[in-house]
């Protein structure tokens, strides 16, 4: 399995965001020149739902512009699964329009949060191992 190293601080921030938004799903963007120096954008889930998310389009537009101006990349898109496992749902896969970004999912369904990363390309899901740096 391919492995990516992500700063522990970034992983903790994603988990904290997921917990703060519980029981609703939260979403956000991991950006940077590379994962080892990545930073987060916490975004608004306009659906306020525990079973789905739709990133605020206006915020997304501004953040993507910011990423471009900083000459960075949208390395990953994250969202939480408050009540289900850390694996992409059928809808997650159908709406995965950014094959160049990884999809990070945090599950809060168990006693401890579980964070996993996936590449989703034309329906094909490949798990990428996450190594905290």
């Amino acid at each position: 399995m391919e492995t990516i190293g992500i700063p522990r601080s970034v992983i903790n921030e994603i988990i904290d965001h997921a917990k703060a938004g519980y029981p609703d799903e939260v979403c956000g963007i991991v950006a940077g020149k590379e994962f080892s120096s990545a930073h987060l954008y916490n975004m608004t889930n306009t659906e306020n739902s525990r079973v789905s998310y739709f990133m605020d389009p206006g915020e997304q537009f501004q953040v993507m512009k910011d990423i471009r101006e900083r000459k960075e990349k949208m390395l990953a898109i994250y969202h939480s699964h408050p009540d289900s496992v850390a694996f992409p749902s059928a809808k997650d896969v159908r709406l995965a329009y950014y094959p160049d970004s990884l999809y990070i999912i945090v599950s809060l369904a168990g006693d401890i949060p579980v964070l996993k990363a996936f590449s989703i390309n034309e329906g094909e899901i490949v798990e990428i191992s996450v190594k905290p740096l």
Partner: protein, 93 residues
């Protein structure tokens, strides 16, 4: 001066890797259909029956076309049209 159209990464394989392309002025949907002549297949990814797909956001300069005249929004000389696929998902269908 033509309209500048910003192509998102997932659609750049249809534009030969180009991040920005040029189009003639017109309404949003006219531009989408015109782009399809240069880059076959792109209109189908963005629209269906001349309506922009729900999971595609489009901006004229800084304005979401949903808050303008949607597909009928006129894009003028020098304007920038951005195509931004939505980021969404969930368990519910």
């Amino acid at each position: 001066m033509p309209v500048k159209v910003r192509i998102p990464t997932p659609l750049q394989r249809l534009t030969g890797g180009k991040e920005e392309v040029e189009a003639k002025t017109g309404t949003v949907i006219e531009i989408v259909n015109d782009l399809d002549k240069q880059y076959p297949g792109i209109a189908e990814r963005i629209s269906e029956n001349n309506k922009i797909r729900r999971f595609v956001n489009m901006y004229v300069n800084e304005e979401d076309i949903r808050f303008l005249q949607a597909e009928a929004t006129v894009v003028k000389d020098g304007d920038e049209l951005s195509i931004v696929p939505a980021i969404a998902g969930g368990i519910s269908q």
